[in-house]
Symmetry: C2
Subunit: 478 residues, 2 copies
């Protein structure tokens, strides 16, 4: 029974990973398709996960002194065009508003794909002196990028995100902010999403449009593909120069300030699905599970069962997000339903359990059963949730380690992929963009990042054989 597959309707991930993913997001009631191509409806269960993520992240941002603001969703074309690299990067993929009511607009407005230009316009109004710095802002909103191929959470034309924007008196301070926020993301992924990530820097060709440098965290999915889970950008004073933002410094000199931005999106929901999910559906990290414990009464027509189950619910919901399913469906159906939804713990209680003053707890990840005395229920639930969080983290870490291989030549990369499938390839790189392109062309794997934790695998570039002092992570990305 413990090993039996209760939910038959979803595709096995080994057979078709993409279809498995689609099945899970739909059957676990995370999303619905909408009539607007590439835009999704985020249903209550999916949105509740996002709300829990928001709460955890928002508290971290505020602890570092960031304040939330709200900028307009529209950017006039002339404003978007002020920073040359930025407009080149984003103009091809924005949605344009051309009419208000029945009137054509005198200037087109794009729906924000990101808000650097709006923040710059605002900074120009409010930053005059070193006393006004730093400004540490964040905004929760939705943005639009007109993607050609879309998939729920992973790539949608509209998505929800947070975008941090900060402005500082010195480059050192701005760089420290960029790194600090990358660390916040990594810690959040590890401790809240139970998902290990590699921290690193993007290569020149891969950085954000308008950035001096882009840092990122990269995670590895079940299928060996890499997923960029968050980015943090250092802008130098490039935007300040383009928007003519200046402040009087402590020496009474007019100076350009230094900026950063950093973001994470609803794509993180896709990341946890593909990091922890299995052939029975979702497996949710306890800290973002909308339901942490689902109570399912057994033989609920018997006297006292519903009462006892309800009493337990009232006890547990003081400490855990707890739900009870009193519907007239069969327990087996309910087991499968909440496994599909990735609820970390199932609590079963029937007449025999009540006699013994116990209940049964079943872990979602291992399906292990525990007979637990009702006297120590809260302690045991807390313990099992913590243990599950550690287990799924370790499993994901193991998956990442097993799918990370060091290679020293193009042929080795090809052979490695042939043998092991997708994953991270570690290889040395001379720093030349031509080599980056050539590796991608010949092997299919692109550069993911220059990890902060560097190893010296050899002295020479995996591609051209010239001197190389950077180790890169390569992979196929979502």
């Amino acid at each position: 029974m413990a090993k039996e597959k209760l939910v038959q309707e979803i595709t096995n991930m080994e057979d078709d990973f993409a279809q498995w993913y689609t099945d899970v997001v739909l059957k676990a009631d995370l999303v619905d398709y909408s009539g607007v191509k590439g835009c999704m409806v985020i249903r209550p269960y999916g949105y509740a996960i996002w709300e829990l993520m928001q709460k955890e992240m928002d508290a971290r941002f505020k602890a570092y002194g960031h304040e939330n603001v709200y900028m307009p969703m529209f950017i006039p074309e002339s404003l978007l065009e002020k920073e040359k690299d930025h407009v080149e990067g984003f103009a091809p993929e924005v949605a344009w508003v051309t009419h208000g009511g029945s009137e054509p607009l005198t200037e087109r407005l794009c729906v924000r794909p990101t808000s650097e230009t709006l923040f710059c316009e605002h900074y120009k109004n409010i930053v005059q002196s070193w006393r006004d710095l730093p400004k540490l802002y964040n905004q929760w909103c939705s943005v639009v990028r007109w993607e050609k191929t879309t998939r729920p959470f992973l790539r949608t034309r509209e998505f929800l995100w947070q975008e941090g924007h900060t402005i500082h008196a010195t480059p050192e301070e701005a760089i420290e902010e960029t790194e600090q926020q990358l660390n916040v993301y990594a810690e959040f992924c590890q401790n809240v999403l139970n998902m290990p990530v590699v921290k690193g820097k993007k290569t020149e060709s891969d950085k954000f449009a308008g950035a001096e440098s882009t840092y990122c965290i990269e995670a590895l999915m079940h299928d060996g593909k890499a997923l960029q889970a968050g980015t943090s950008h250092y802008f130098g004073d490039g935007f300040a120069r383009a928007f003519d933002i200046k402040f009087t410094d402590k020496d009474n000199k007019l100076t350009y300030p230094f900026q950063t931005s950093w973001g994470t999106t609803t794509r993180l929901i896709g990341a946890i699905i593909m990091s922890h999910g299995d052939n029975n559906g979702l497996v949710l990290p306890p800290k973002v599970a909308p339901i942490q414990v689902i109570i399912i009464p057994i033989a609920s027509h018997k006297e006292g069962v519903v009462e006892k189950a309800t009493e337990i619910k009232e006890r547990l919901e003081k400490k855990f997000r707890t739900k009870i399913d009193l519907s007239d469906k069969q327990p087996g159906w309910k087991f499968a339903e909440y496994e599909m939804k990735g609820v970390p713990l199932r609590l079963e209680i029937g007449p025999k359990d009540i006699e013994k003053n116990q209940c049964v707890l079943v872990r979602r990840d291992t399906r292990e059963k525990y007979f637990v005395s009702l006297d120590e229920l809260e302690t045991k639930v807390a313990e099992l949730l913590e243990d599950l969080a550690k287990s799924i983290y370790n499993k994901a870490l193991e998956n990442m380690e097993q799918h990370t291989h060091a290679c020293t030549s193009i042929d080795e990369i090809k052979a490695c992929i042939e043998k092991n499938g997708d994953g991270f390839i570690k290889a040395m790189w001379c720093g030349d963009e031509a080599c980056e392109d050539k590796v991608k062309e010949l092997t299919g794997v692109g550069s993911r990042c220059i990890p902060f934790d560097q190893e010296k695998l050899s002295d020479t570039c995996v591609c051209c054989g010239k001197k190389a002092d950077k180790m890169l992570y390569w992979g196929v990305a979502y």
Copy 2:
């Protein structure tokens, strides 16, 4: 001193109410103008007020079983057109997206002005049986309406709001939901915003596009103008018929379900400014004040002052949103600054206070001073915050009562406005739209609502003299 005006830079509301309002929203750092006409930047202090409002409202919605979701921000033109009255009401004021990147779209998309049509499309996918009902949804997002004249918070082309959307098996249930949510809004306005409201029903000519009936809460501002603070709509099965949403009821019959929607917006921030503010700036209701207590050390260069003030801050922030201003500005400047920002309580502490183991608390609304022993500080702060909340509510209620007048003829309405200025006019109405229009034309006041608390002022319509059994509230609206 208590009566002296510390902030000289804002216009007196008696001289120019509109300018006073603009001065306050800008000088209290609530908003900044943006380069997009009619769209505003909500700055940290303004956004923090909205976050506190959201938290209070969201908890109330969830307590009634509502779940948050997220719908796309775009509505295809053909979808918007499905319900006749709805499209007629909204099409003239929507923003149209016509291009994605460099490609023209095959169908125009409007930026949602409201999301009934999107919810209907989704309901059609997920509602099949009576077991699927009710669905009680809410969404926090921004919407766009292409207004001609705009003012921060009160009327902007983009604004933040929540929109509740529910679908039910019976009309009774849907009507109950509509009324329940109106009551939630009224209770929220009273207990959180300390703002009295009149609950009522809109007349036919004034109801929401596509609704069978619209309920509303109306508040009265300092200048005697009425402000619609929230609406709740009952749709009957009109949208279900237009979108062909059907469910199998308990008798196995295919039936149309019944819908509601209800919303409040960032306009509520405008409402609290104009309900409680004075010539020194904002006066914030304690429950939505981002800073509830501002600590200002006096003679902070003297030994021990900053330490003691910081110690008090650490004590208070366990229970209250507390900030300390340790900047090198003069106390007088700080007093004015935090009065402008409407912080409910100011705490002053200097060397003499420390000697006496006391501090000074000053209420924002009355500017009364209290010398408080540090031993009973938390109790006194809680007491004063509660008292301030009651006081500003009572003051607003008194303002509303003083500016509400019963009239029985058009001439009486004219004379009343002449004598008392703007306010609510109570008058009987026969129910004929022609009379509604004529009153507006002749006196300038439009119908605000048919209040739930009816009074029988006379038997005849204030306009045509025919039999009338409805008392209306009339007024000039924001």
